[in-house]
């Protein structure tokens, strides 16, 4: 259903995304005004805070996990696979990657890739639990992937508290990742230091953009998302696609988790990591906003990262709570989705019911 929009010509102004963004900022502005603030000042503080000076660097840094998680969601959603387990996949991968980085001795060029590969493998394995549950046993992936998030939280919390915890620490955390085992940073156009993960995220955007449009598997997975019966009819192995896509999405989750520790915070702190999993859900919103397309995901991911970073700046200068940024994020999605519901209803109720639908013997046979 979401894909239908791609084929509908609409101008930039009436495009559903433009309308959703406009509605969200409009409502956000009203909220600021009602609570006694100046929306124009607040929004300009937000904009400046997000996209100028060190704010831009922070925005790009924050867009790394958001864009990557959105790409992971898009992989699955495009194929009609409702993977809501990004959070658990991130946590399991992050702890694995961290422990490899802490415990494996050796030079950085060995340990860093090893930690990332380990994180990816465990994230993939976690996702495969849901995939195989669906393809082998018939348990809906939507449910298992969502519920496994809580299992992952408990497992990682336990491990960080007891076997992997730093002895004597006041809170649940691992030891710090040694400097040699950290993801390196680069100098970014005079803005300061930036994780090289950014380069890999950009590469992933391009890789998926090509894969979606120009490969057989990209075509087949899109067709699965548009119609399962049609794909099976055409000889697409839906089960194999489900397993492969979930493994890839879980691997991205594990990589993002590993990046967040070995590239940013250098300690796996239980409470922090659980907060960081918010990126999985922001990524989901970004994928929805971008209709699962890689280049728009990049743009929308940077926009949402900017909203969050700009939100902090807005709070500092205008005194408007940064949580308003989250409200706006949510409003964008609500506006976008309600647009779909309205359109859907409209196309559903009018239009001549095709008479062929009635001749379908399935209807008759069901009497």
């Amino acid at each position: 259903m979401l894909e239908v929009y791609r084929h509908r010509a609409s101008s930039a102004v009436t495009h559903p995304v433009t309308l959703a963004l406009g509605a969200a900022f409009g409502l956000g502005g009203i909220i600021i005004a009602v609570t006694g603030g100046n929306p124009f000042a607040a929004f300009s503080d937000m904009l400046l805070g997000a996209f100028t000076g060190s704010g831009l660097r922070n925005t790009l840094g924050r867009s790394i996990p958001i864009v990557a998680m959105a790409l992971a969601v898009s992989l699955a959603f495009r194929a009609g696979i409702l993977n809501l387990g990004g959070e658990g996949q991130m946590l399991m991968g992050a702890l694995t990657g961290t422990m490899i980085a802490i415990t494996v001795p050796g030079p950085g060029y060995v340990v860093v890739p090893l930690a990332l590969i380990g994180g990816a493998l465990v994230g993939a394995a976690w996702a495969l639990l849901s995939a195989l549950g669906q393809t082998r046993v018939g348990v809906p992936l939507l449910i298992t992937s969502l519920l496994l998030n809580y299992v992952a939280r408990s497992i990682t919390s336990y491990l960080v508290r007891f076997p992997f915890g730093e002895p004597g620490a006041a809170f649940a955390t691992t030891s710090p990742v040694p400097p040699t085992a950290r993801i390196p940073k680069m100098e970014l156009l005079g803005m300061g230091r930036m994780s090289i993960s950014l380069v890999f995220v950009l590469a992933l955007v391009i890789l998926l953009a090509v894969a979606y449009r120009r490969t057989v598997v990209g075509y087949e997975s899109e067709m699965i998302g548009l119609s399962g019966p049609f794909s099976r009819y055409g000889g697409v192995n839906v089960e194999r696609h489900t397993v492969a896509i979930m493994a890839a999405a879980g691997a991205i989750g594990g990589l993002v988790g590993t990046h967040l520790v070995t590239g940013e915070t250098y300690r796996y702190i239980d409470a922090d990591m659980i907060a960081q999993t918010g990126f999985a859900w922001t990524g989901l919103m970004v994928a929805l906003l971008a209709f699962n397309r890689p280049l728009p995901i990049l743009a929308a991911g940077i926009l949402f990262a900017g909203l969050q970073i700009g939100g902090f700046a807005m709070e500092r200068s205008s005194g408007v709570s940064w949580q308003l940024a989250q409200v706006i994020q949510a409003l964008v999605i609500v506006a976008l989705v309600s647009r779909f519901v309205v359109t859907w209803k409209r196309t559903g109720s009018d239009g001549d019911a095709p008479s062929e639908a009635n001749t379908d013997p399935a209807h008759v046979g069901s009497v």
């Binding site: 057989v216 055409g234 001749t359």
Partner: protein
């Protein structure tokens, strides 16, 4: 005769379509009035207007001399209109009587009087020759009987005008003839019948008056005594359509599809295909005739790989494909025009080009397995649109925007355009207009001429008879007859379809 019903200047627009264009229709009391037209001619829309399901943009409805507005089916019923839909609207677990009296139960002191209810249903059934057991549970009854229940339901609500929307689509020839008998009895008892169909033979058999619709307009009102099927067809299509001729049979070749002792499970673990063996040879069209629900759909799904086989063998050429994946069967030379083109044969939200690619996305001519170049895919699609006259705005348009006939051309184009040894065509012309039917029939005959094996399944006996080199009849999961199309008539095929001479419909 008095005028029962009059529609004046009915116009209904849908986005981009003028479904009804100033249609006038006069129906006299006590006649069987046929509304004929191709799919998309506006028949269903017009009847929906009459039954209060759709409000017209312009025009008025006059019932027994009074101008009325019919805002809902309930209002239509209170005006004495009754409709029998194509898809029956019955509660499967309730009895015939309970379904008929629903919401108008005869009651004494607020308690349903079951005896009176059964009595009234029985009386109605007797009066018009609608033989039905009032106490039978609906789910245990065959389709032909369910239709009688629907008619009784309308009569119970004192319908003086009955609208029958393509009622014969699900019936065997015998059941159809009984329905016609019932319709004549109802007419003789003074009721008025509006009979929607696109089958000319039925029109000639039963109509007192004929109104032909084409592209939303009423183009002719005819008297069946003074017209011919050819003339009606000309009005329906706006041109002459020559019926397809099978022509001389070529010498058949080796078996392409061989099935031995095949057993397939259906919905509830019951065997729906029970020991079927058949061969389809090169240069041969084998037609399977069966009433819906006798295992033919499951047989086809097993052959194409969409349903697992419990026992037996399926060979394509000399490859055993009994348990092979769909992709493997396609590589072995199978192509398939499925019964349900909306759900299975196409994806509505995918583009025309994407739809034309399916099944061949890994073939050598389109890239060879891993890469797909949008330009190549698009050229392939444009080529097929030209060759098979698919009218699409462009190859990037969503397939869901195509009309029924064009969508079926798309499916046919895709399945015919590759060099496959075996073509399975399931209801290939259902719901498409006469022009597209002729086109599809010629494509199927052309496939045979080029030495392919064709397995054809159709509910239309005329189609089976016109195209098949051999006719196999399926009944309750078995093949019960192997007939020569030139040596049998419709009645005989119909008899086999219902289990032979022992069972009347």
């Amino acid at each position: 005769m008095t005028v029962e019903l009059e529609l004046r200047g009915i116009t209904k627009r849908f986005p981009g379509v003028l479904a009804c264009d100033r249609i006038d229709l006069t129906v006299r009391a006590g006649e069987i009035h046929c509304i004929v037209g191709e799919n998309g001619a506006g028949k269903t829309t017009l009847m929906s207007v009459l039954y209060g399901l759709i409000q017209p943009d312009e025009g008025e409805i006059v019932v027994r001399g009074e101008r009325t507005r019919i805002g809902s089916p309930l209002e239509a019923i209170s005006l004495g209109l009754g409709m029998v839909h194509q898809a029956f609207k019955l509660f499967p677990t309730l009895t015939v009587t309970e379904n008929v009296v629903f919401r108008q139960e005869p009651a004494r002191l607020g308690i349903i009087d079951r005896k009176a209810a059964v009595g009234r249903v029985h009386h109605l059934a007797q009066a018009y020759g609608l033989s039905v057991d009032p106490r039978a549970t609906v789910e245990s009854l065959p389709v032909g009987v369910l239709q009688r229940v629907e008619i009784i339901k309308a009569l119970y609500r004192e319908a003086s005008v009955l609208i029958l929307d393509e009622p014969t689509a699900v019936l065997t020839p015998q059941e159809r003839d009984r329905l016609f008998e019932v319709m004549r009895r109802l007419r003789d008892a003074g009721r008025t019948i509006l009979f929607i169909t696109h089958k000319l033979g039925e029109v000639m058999a039963v109509a007192d008056r004929i109104t032909v619709l084409r592209q939303g307009r009423a183009v002719a009102e005819l008297d069946p005594g003074a017209t011919t099927p050819a003339e009606i067809s000309r009005h329906m299509t706006g041109r002459d359509v020559a019926p397809v001729r099978r022509g001389a049979d070529e010498p058949v070749g080796d078996p392409v599809l061989s099935i031995r002792d095949l057993e397939v499970e259906g919905a509830h673990g019951l065997a729906t295909v029970r020991g079927v063996s058949l061969d389809v040879r090169a240069s041969e069209i084998v037609g399977i005739a069966a009433v819906a629900g006798n295992g033919q759909s499951e047989l086809i799904e097993a052959i194409v790989g969409l349903r697992s086989v419990r026992a037996g063998h399926i060979n394509l050429g000399d490859v055993d494909v009994t348990h092979a994946a769909v992709a493997m069967r396609r590589r072995a030379g199978l192509s398939y025009i499925p019964e349900d083109r909306h759900r299975v044969g196409t994806a509505a939200a995918a583009t025309v080009a994407q739809n034309l690619l399916m099944g061949y996305q890994r073939s050598a001519e389109l890239g060879g397995g891993r890469w797909l170049l949008p330009a190549v895919v698009d050229r392939h699609a444009r080529d097929l649109c030209d060759r098979f006259s698919i009218r699409a705005p462009d190859t990037g348009a969503a397939a869901g925007t195509l009309s029924g006939g064009n969508l079926q051309r798309l499916v046919v184009a895709r399945e015919m355009s590759h060099d496959s040894r075996l073509l399975i065509a399931e209801q290939p012309t259902r719901g498409v207009d006469i022009g597209a039917i002729a086109f599809i029939h010629n494509q199927i005959l052309e496939a045979k001429r080029r030495g392919r094996a064709v397995l054809l399944v159709s509910a239309e006996l005329t189609e089976i008879q016109a195209l098949s080199s051999r006719i196999l009849v399926m009944f309750e999961g078995r093949i019960v007859a192997d007939l020569d199309p030139d040596a049998v008539d419709e009645a005989e095929i119909g008899l086999h379809m219902t289990g032979g001479a022992s069972v009347g419909a």
